[in-house]
């Protein structure tokens, strides 16, 4: 579903934010992307989402290059940044309807999906209020609902659990499993290693823009905790 080939992003000034990163994410994968602050996780995710240009390599989503066929890639992808700043002058329902219009989702489908996810995240009664009145967690929930609206084949989430209450975090985890069961792929960054270990079937560890470890979660941890593996890999890489 997602093929990252030798991705390199160099910032003006010469710093390599992502250095020759290659990864394969298949349909059905919940792929965790971990690394310390400034390791290059967000840059890589932004490049995949098509909101940031990159210098070398290529990214294919469902066989289509994000450089050459960006619009198609975006139409089957959902992306949520680490701090989702949404259109504050719109109400929650107006924002969801806006996303529905852009992704050309049918009326019935969008109404059903909004009801399903807004009820699950317990945010339905707040959808008529301006987003500017929302708390951080409510904005995160709204961003997640907007991402689920068009049943994306690829879901890119940057720190999706930050700001969510325990109930919402559980809803998110269940929805992630539900989506991958239906054939979607999820690639997400997190600092919560416990969640990554339990939720992800595959893990990639990045340090200073370089991939230092990746693979099946069970094989990678090999009986140890992900925290131990992470510390070991990052210290010795």
């Amino acid at each position: 579903m997602l093929s990252i080939k030798n991705l390199t992003k160099i910032y003006k000034g010469g710093k390599k934010a992502v250095d020759n990163l290659s990864l394969e994410i298949s349909a059905g994968d919940i792929y965790g992307f971990i690394g310390h602050n400034g390791a290059g996780k967000t840059t890589a995710i932004r490049a995949i989402a098509g909101v940031m240009d990159f210098d070398k390599g290529d990214i294919l989503i469902d066989g289509h290059s994000v450089k050459e066929d960006g619009l198609f890639c975006k139409s089957i992808t959902a992306y949520i940044p680490d701090n989702p700043d949404l259109y504050e002058h719109l109400t929650g329902i107006q924002y969801l309807n806006f996303i529905g219009d852009i992704f050309k989702i049918t009326k019935v489908e969008r109404e059903n999906k909004i009801k399903k996810y807004a009820d699950a995240f317990e945010i339905t009664s707040n959808l008529g209020d301006l987003i500017s009145s929302y708390s951080h967690g409510m904005k995160q929930k709204l961003a997640l609902i907007s991402a689920f609206l068009h049943s994306p084949k690829l879901l890119l989430l940057d720190e999706p659990f930050v700001g969510l209450d325990p109930m919402a975090a559980l809803v998110l985890k269940n929805t992630m499993r539900e989506l991958t069961d239906e054939g979607s792929a999820i690639f997400f960054s997190t600092h919560v290693l416990d969640v990554a270990e339990k939720l992800c079937n595959k893990i990639a560890i990045i340090k200073n823009g370089k991939l230092v470890a990746s693979g099946n979660t069970l094989e990678l941890t090999n009986g140890n905790s992900l925290e131990e593996v992470f510390m070991e890999v990052v210290e010795h890489a």
């Binding site: 910032y11 852009i102 008529g128």
Partner: protein
């Protein structure tokens, strides 16, 4: 406390002039843009200085040298009021760093003074631009002593205080009242608009009444200046007659009015900010039928909601169009001969039908919504970048917002003028067509400039709407494309005026087409603030 105030002021200056970005950015484009901005500002300043110098000199040639200091003082003060009234509330109360600052051990007056100083800097620049050339012209013609130069130099720094204080006070009162209102944007927009139009109309009409009454032109002018701004007689007395008591009174009034104002604002600063940040949330929504739109319509609706959510945005971009309609109404009601005297443009009535289309175009070119429409997305720009829509669709939605506001105003204005003057069919055609061409040009050019010089990390929308480089550049370009043909028609004394208008229109249409095509080929992900 003073140290804290200066620290805050320094932080705001660093942000306002993007000094850190210029110093620490490793991007050459960023530095190039900064140089371009500085060049544009210097050019604008020089043009204004030249204009002021010519104005002052023309007063001397008609033996009114003694009126120069008072006239320029009053004009500068009115301009400062007009420029401040729009942004005062946004600068004082609209900053996103309010929570950060109030959580620190800083007194409200320190924040108020530091913000006021930020506005003071830009107004002081305006004061220097208008007062220095006029003082020099006065110096050449009146040959005053050293005392004049000393008093002028020290006085320069006090001139902006009272107009800024008055304008900010109006802004603060409006914001204070509106903070409890549901439709606060509408209220602030309406009040600010009427206040601005009021200031302009009052300062223009004061001279118009006396013009026909008295034959003594000096007396008329003196009355006009004095009615323009209440402190003008005091300033004239101080500078022209060398009255030290008037001078000290002027300085004293400037300081005391400012101090009282700071005290009052500091008293209610937290209350107003808290009221502004409190949001209405009902939390009783029930899912209803949703209206389906095309991607372009959805983006357009989103853009329109953003536009109407900011009174500062509406006022700054709408004022040119509204002035255009007011101008056309004035032409119809007052008549062009009288307009000629009000606008102080002798000979206007003879060539009016030739320059009217471009004059309308010029008013439409003052400001466009598009020139800040990309930057205003701020930290939400990622949404547009990640959506599966073409660049053209995103830009078209922004263009349509400006056209929605501008085109009706243009058609109404052209129609009003068409009724007011007799014209040939070609003149009529140009009267309708040329303003539209200007509007299209400035709208598309606004996108081009903003896409090349976006600012997304602002923490006060006043920065991108009023002070950013794209806004200044667009204003300069807009004034040039209208000013040059108008000047040509004046200089050539209406000879081949229709040809000039047609040629300029054709050139602008071609440039607009090229810019539109180029804009649509841009990649949204490449439109990023450089780090």
């Amino acid at each position: 406390m003073l140290k804290q105030c200066l620290k805050l002021f320094k932080v705001q200056l660093l942000h306002m002039f993007q000094i850190n970005e210029i110093i620490h950015s490793k991007d050459k484009r960023k530095k190039r843009n900064a140089i371009l901005l500085a060049f544009t500002m210097i050019l604008l300043g020089l043009c204004l200085m030249l204009y002021v110098g010519i104005m002052a000199a023309s007063l001397s040639y008609i033996n009114m040298t003694n009126l120069i200091p008072g006239y320029m003082f009053a004009t500068t003060s009115v301009l400062t009021m007009v420029f401040t009234i729009f942004k005062a509330s946004a600068v004082l109360f609209g900053s996103k760093d309010y929570d950060l600052l109030t959580a620190m051990p800083i007194k409200p007056w320190v924040i108020v003074v530091s913000r006021f100083l930020t506005m003071y800097v830009s107004n002081l620049v305006l004061t220097l631009i208008t007062m220095i050339p006029s003082a020099l012209v006065y110096g050449v013609f009146a040959k005053p002593g050293f005392r004049f130069y000393l008093m002028t130099t020290v006085g320069l720094f006090f001139i902006p205080f009272i107009p800024m204080t008055l304008a900010t006070a109006v802004g603060a009162v409006v914001t204070g009242i509106s903070s409890r209102m549901k439709h606060r944007t509408l209220f602030v927009t309406a009040i600010s608009f009427f206040a601005t139009v009021g200031i302009i109309v009052l300062s223009l009409s004061s001279g118009n009444v006396t013009r026909e009454m008295i034959s003594d032109l000096t007396k008329i002018m003196t009355e006009q200046i004095n009615s323009m701004y209440f402190l003008a007689p005091l300033y004239t007395d101080a500078l022209v007659n060398g009255s030290l008591s008037s001078y000290i009174l002027f300085i004293f009034l400037s300081i005391i009015i400012f101090a009282i104002f700071v005290k009052l604002i500091s008293w209610k600063f937290n209350a107003i900010n808290s009221a502004l940040s409190s949001k209405t949330a009902k939390g009783n929504y029930v899912l209803k039928d949703l209206e389906i739109s095309s991607p372009l319509k959805a983006l357009y609706k989103k853009e329109m909601k953003r536009y109407l959510s900011s009174s500062l945005y509406v006022l700054n971009t709408g004022i040119g169009y509204i002035m255009m309609v007011i101008f056309a109404i004035a032409v119809l009601v007052v008549g062009i001969e009288k307009m000629e005297s009000v606008m102080e443009m002798p000979g206007l009535s003879k060539i009016f039908i030739s320059v009217a289309p471009i004059m309308l175009g010029m008013m439409a070119s003052i400001m466009t919504t598009t020139v800040s429409s990309i930057s205003i997305e701020g930290k939400q720009w990622w949404i547009a970048q990640s959506l599966p829509v073409k660049t053209k669709t995103v830009f078209d939605s922004k263009i349509l917002i400006n056209l929605t506001i501008a085109l009706p105003c243009s058609v109404i204005s052209s129609t009003l003028i068409a009724f007011a003057v007799s014209a040939t069919w070609l003149s009529l055609l140009l009267l309708y067509l040329v303003p539209v061409i200007y509007i299209l040009f400035t709208t598309i050019m606004g996108i081009t400039i903003n896409a090349h010089m976006p600012t997304f990390n602002w923490d006060n929308e006043a920065y991108v709407i009023k002070q950013s480089a794209p806004v200044l550049i667009a204003m300069l370009v807009g004034m040039s494309v209208a000013g040059i043909p108008i000047a040509l028609i004046f200089v050539l004394n209406n000879l081949a005026s229709e040809l000039i208008v047609v040629v300029v229109s054709v050139i602008l249409s071609l440039v607009t087409f090229v810019l539109y095509s180029k804009n649509n080929k841009m990649e949204l992900k490449l439109i990023q603030q450089q780090k």
